[in-house]
């Protein structure tokens, strides 16, 4: 594989299940060594796309390649050159840590001489050095996930697919997980990761936003944020959900959504909107504590892109 060939290519990739179009003509390229993020709600088509790229599912139409191999005809070569970690925790819970590592060393046909070295490496990155004989089922989720990642890259693949690898993990473990991903990319691995955590998306070099099977935006996190042109107001009130309810149909308001405890409101014109927001809240008996214009987060970006694409996010 040469540097000139992109690590991952998708051209009009489509997958249909019966009447349902899970992935709808999705095209993109991922450069070698990049961390490429796939962002979108559940059911947006992220997992299906990843499965097609990992050689687990045939596309209905369109084509793609991974590490220079065609996804429709060379899935065996692809499997030798990628690591894959699915949404579900998928090591053998009834095997010990060392037995799991040995098993996947076997699956990837690692040469005998390198097995011990790679096993020690995997134990190290999972933070499980000295605990090789523990039954995997009994480990905390964060450790399990790092072990699963370690097992998925025992053969040092050039491309790594991670399908929502950190779902259900606490923030601290999530950060450790991402430190591990950074180590891998420094060594030249291309990482293709899907997530629905917006904070995680910030770690990515580039982000693809998916909704209802379609790719609705693709850019760096910073530029995606810059794309949001409408002013964004952050409101603190005594009742967030009621505030969203009250402002949703107000003229001049494009979108109102909860953002943590606060409410984010995208508006057409700041001055006019501010006036009507204040009067509407008073009308409804809601108490406004603060109102300020803020820079859009990735979540706002996502909401804005979905609106621009003319749809509502699925969930």
């Amino acid at each position: 594989m040469t540097q000139a060939v992109p690590a991952v290519v998708a051209e009009s990739l489509t997958r249909v299940f019966g009447d349902f179009v899970a992935v709808d003509r999705v095209s993109f390229e991922v450069a070698t060594g990049e961390i490429f993020g796939f962002l979108g709600p559940n059911g947006a088509g992220k997992t299906t796309t990843i499965k097609m790229l990992a050689g687990l599912l045939l596309p209905s139409s369109g084509r793609g390649s991974v590490a220079g191999f065609d996804i429709a005809t060379q899935s065996d070569e692809i499997k030798r050159n990628i690591g894959y970690m699915s949404q579900l925790f998928s090591l053998y819970g009834d095997l010990t840590v060392a037995e799991n590592i040995a098993f996947f060393s076997g699956m990837y046909s690692l040469p005998r001489l390198r097995r011990a070295e790679r096993r020690d490496w995997a134990l190290e990155v999972a933070g499980l050095a000295g605990q090789a004989d523990r039954i995997t089922r009994d480990l905390p989720l964060g450790f399990k996930q790092r072990l699963a990642l370690g097992c998925a890259v025992l053969h040092e693949p050039s491309v790594l697919f991670l399908d929502e690898p950190t779902s259900g993990v606490d923030p601290l473990s999530r950060r450790r997980f991402w430190e591990l991903i950074d180590t891998l990319t420094e060594a030249g691995t291309t990482v293709f990761v899907s997530t629905h955590y917006m904070e995680e998306a910030e770690y990515c070099d580039r982000l693809a936003l998916m909704n209802r099977g379609k790719l609705i935006a693709l850019d760096t996190p910073a530029r995606l944020r810059a794309n949001v042109r409408e002013p964004l107001l952050e409101l603190q009130t005594n009742d967030g959900p009621k505030t969203v309810e009250a402002l949703r149909d107000l003229p001049g308001v494009l979108e109102a959504a909860m953002f943590g405890r606060a409410v984010h409101v995208a508006v057409t014109d700041r001055t006019r909107a501010e006036r009507s927001i204040r009067s509407r809240l008073t009308e409804r008996g809601l108490l406004l504590q603060s109102l300020q214009e803020v820079a859009p987060s990735l979540e706002d970006t996502f909401v804005a892109e979905v609106r621009a694409a003319g749809g509502a996010p699925v969930d």
Partner: protein, 374 residues
Amino acid sequence: MAFDVFRLLAIARKELLQLRRDVRSLILAFLLPLLLLALFGYAISWDVSDIRTAVLDQDRSATSRAFVDAYRASGYFSVRQDLERSSEIDALLTRGSVQMVLVIPPDFSERLGANRPVAVQALVDGSDANTATIALAYARAITRDYALETQLQGRLLQPPITTDSRVWYNEELLSRNMIVPGLIAVIMMIVAAMLTSLTIAREWERGTMEQLAATPVTRSEVVLGKLLPYVVIGLIDVVMCAVLGVWLFDVPLRGSVLLLMTLSTAYIIGSLGLGIFISAAARSQLLATQLAMLTTFLPAFLLSGFMYAIDVLPKGLQMVTYLVPARYFLVVTRGIFLKGVGADVLRVQGLLMIAFAIIGIALAIHFFRKELRT
């Protein structure tokens, strides 16, 4: 797609490790065969002896008592009660406290003495048709022998034809001699059903199959790697059943152990392949288990000649039995155990076993999808 023996062995090793830690599987693999063997060896028997019998002797003569003694002496009938009145019969048979009532008419000795024909009545509880049929046959034989003896009255008369019968292979006509070899076929089907419902479905359920699917391991490596430990377990079960059968139940093992093991291996490979094929086609654990029971275990139990002789089955079912591999394997085990036959006699069955193994594996590999559907 290169075939890699080491990947196959890695799968087999993993299966063994999982099996070792799974009590449920261990019980199924090693305790269930013993349980079935004990159950069939001790408890269930199709041998009919000691048929509970009551006698209504209206003649009450030395002759009639001698006649009843002939029944007693046969060993097939255990005369429990002497009745006074015919009105007692109904209640006894209804309650099931006796299975047969022998009624001797008042003029029994008188007519016999006068050399005139006389009929005794045998009333049998037909609700257990099997026992009833056998009881009647025994009753007829005993009565006929007695009648013959009476007619000859000690004279030596050579009848023109006599039957000099001798039972071969199962000399004492013990049903456990048939059961133990047959049970081997059934037990191996259970091991096969276990593999399908526990190991394949579990991988789908826990998401490990998806992880496996993303590695370079091939379908044939997964299928054969999973088969291997269970073939070994199946063979251990065969040895266990054979040893216990011979030691505990005195079942003769007259033929070649090597031939038995060879054909058993082929048979269990076929059964396991069939099981994997079913679970791959069904995908859901519950459905796979039920289908496996329905298509492997039950036919082996009911349609192989193990439980019921194939000749007594309805014509339609008899045709179905030709598709039941256990039917042929039963010929193999009974043949080797009881008759001591060799490969020359079992050539057809042996070839069928090998064909079954090849078809089973081919089906399993072909239908075992590594690719995901969702």
